[in-house]
Amino acid sequence: MTPTAELAPGASRQTPAPPPGTAIARAPRERTGSWPLVDRIAYALCWTVGIGLCLIALGIVLFMLVKGVAYLHPKLFVESPAPSPKESQSGGFLDPIIGTLIVAGVGIAIAAPIGVALGTWLAEYGRPSWLARAVESAIEIIAGAPSVVLALFGLVIFAQGYLGFLSQTAAGGGVYGRSFFAAGAVMAVLALPLIVASTREALTRLPDRLREASFALGRTPATTVRRVLLPAIRPDIATGTVLGLGRIIGDTAIINILLGTYLTLEKVGNVPVIGTLRGTGSTLTSYIYSNSPAGEGNAPHKAYAAAFVLLVIVLILNGIVTWLTNRGGRPEGGGLSRAFRLIQYTSRLNWR
């Protein structure tokens, strides 16, 4: 395995590096003047689309920035939402921010260990192979299932009588099935494919000499995984987790179905932490939805302010992913960054 092939998986495998000392002559750029008209139109379209995408992204960010700065107010962060038809009296979004943190925390706490374990098992063991293949397709089905359907499924599960301790039980014995715990658990299912994919992808990319060196020192496969391989892919696991976090924070459908439309934190019982987890509330996404004209609150200024906060969080997470993945420099091959390649393999698991 040459060092270049190791650096840029996939792309540079086709083109071997020139022997040292060879001058690389670069052909002058072809002028489009000699092209047929149709080709020139297509060329112009390519440019239009490229610039257009930049403009759309710039437009979204600038628009949210302007609206966010205009309507954001420090006291929005410390006030709880209050039901009021007047925008000046309907409070801030303290509870939704806490709710977002709770859901993200519960979701990642469930998804990260399971995801890393599954990814490791798929990449390093994968036996019996029929089971591995079945698990792979199962994860792929989860990745492809709409989040509303996942939420519906979650509601059935958590409304079972024996799971009543995770949400609240009505007087007649019916289980409500809506709680932070339920939402977090379903969110974990949403984040799982991303974590599995990054773990698996990173493990298959690790050179075999690492494993061989470890075996040569007399380590068992299990110790090798724990002491050599997993530490080596720590940044990739972190990347998968942050990607999962981003998806959890951005999802509205699961929140709306599994937390209901309460805006404030509704505790169940008197135990401090458990009570909140069993209770319901809201997150930034559901807050935005209910304050948009489509929801019940119809307070666009509040929605803009909350959306700006949400966008900033998402941008920070995006920046973390970029930082985590591009530390090794840009791989050659199309000049696409590693973080860009993440979209490819996290969107489909057995893509290869």
């Binding site: 390519c46 079945a134 459908a253 709306n256 995006n318 973080a339």
Partner: protein, 303 residues
């Protein structure tokens, strides 16, 4: 894991069964106003002459088909061009800009897209693109207010673009240089080379990207619930362009908007039936993508 998936399929279908059983195959057909039917279920008052489960989902299915197919077709063209631009034509500086731009577009939560759609794009379309004559022409059936197929399709396109562009760009970047150089050496210009060689080699990836994007478009609930009009109306294609300005409510958005009524038995069963339909469509898409990939595998590049 497997148990979870199995349980998921089984529970959703068990919950959905009463709705299918009462309506049979005409569940998928047209008939009456869906919104009236759903409201009747919510109030647990059967419509005169029908069972409480009476439900004809055609307007919802038609809305889903319209938005999904239009958005995917639009995104297919745009994303292919964007991928070509990104890998072949863009100057390095612009490429370094586009790369994070596409990741940003992929990361923006759908509720923010929906917010921009309903507060900016829908009013714009309502004020500038829909003339009063057009509103009057269909005024006796449906009110046009800018939250419509058009708005939904445009935003949906932007939402599924990044993923399609990323996958196609990966495939374009992986086309062996020798293949293109062979074509260039024959005197074919760069665009024709890309069109004839790279595009053909990238077909499996483009097919897979399309399938993925379709699945995402099918499952998008929040944004569509906000901007598609929220009315179970089936736009009539005979209206011509006006059909694009008519409101719809796709299947996933219907689930989302009725989530409060899940505990009311008939409505709950119907919502689960919609969920089952979505789940089956997603699974079929997954299988279709796999089959398409098998067919193309022999020719194309693999990224």
């Amino acid at each position: 894991m497997l148990v979870l998936i199995g349980a998921m399929l089984v529970t959703v279908f068990i919950k959905a069964w009463p709705s299918f059983a009462h309506n049979g195959l005409s569940w998928f057909g047209p008939g009456g106003d869906v919104d009236t039917q759903l409201r009747a279920m919510q109030e647990v008052k059967a419509l005169p002459g029908h069972s409480i489960y009476y439900f004809r989902a055609w307007p919802l299915i038609w809305g889903t088909l319209l938005t999904t197919v239009l958005a995917v077709l639009l995104a297919l063209v745009v994303s292919t061009l964007a991928a070509i631009f990104l890998t072949e034509f863009a100057p390095p500086a612009l490429r370094r800009t586009l790369d994070p731009v596409i990741r940003l577009l992929a990361a923006v939560p759908s509720v923010i897209y929906g917010l921009i759609g309903i507060l900016v794009i829908a009013p714009y379309i309502n004020n500038h693109l829909i003339s009063n004559a057009r509103k009057a022409s269909v005024g006796y059936v449906v009110q046009l207010n800018g939250a419509d197929v058009m708005t939904a399709t445009l935003i949906l396109t932007v939402m599924i673009l990044p993923i399609m562009t990323a996958i196609s760009a990966g495939a374009f970047a992986a086309v062996p240089a020798a293949w293109r150089e062979g074509s260039l050496a024959l005197g074919v210009n760069r665009w024709r080379t890309i069109w004839r060689v790279s595009l053909h080699a990238a077909r499996p990836a483009i097919a897979a990207a399309t399938v993925l994007a379709t699945a995402r478009a099918l499952g998008e609930a929040v944004m569509l619930a906000m901007v598609a009009g929220g009315r179970g109306f089936a736009p009539n294609l005979l209206d011509g362009v006006t059909a694009l300005f008519e409101p719809v409510r796709p299947l996933a958005a219907t689930i989302f908007q009725n989530s409060e009524g899940l505990t009311i038995a008939p409505l709950g069963h119907t919502i689960y039936a919609i969920g089952a339909v979505l789940l089956v469509s997603a699974a079929m898409l997954s299988f279709g993508g796999w089959a398409a990939k098998q067919r193309f595998k022999r020719y194309g590049v693999r990224t």
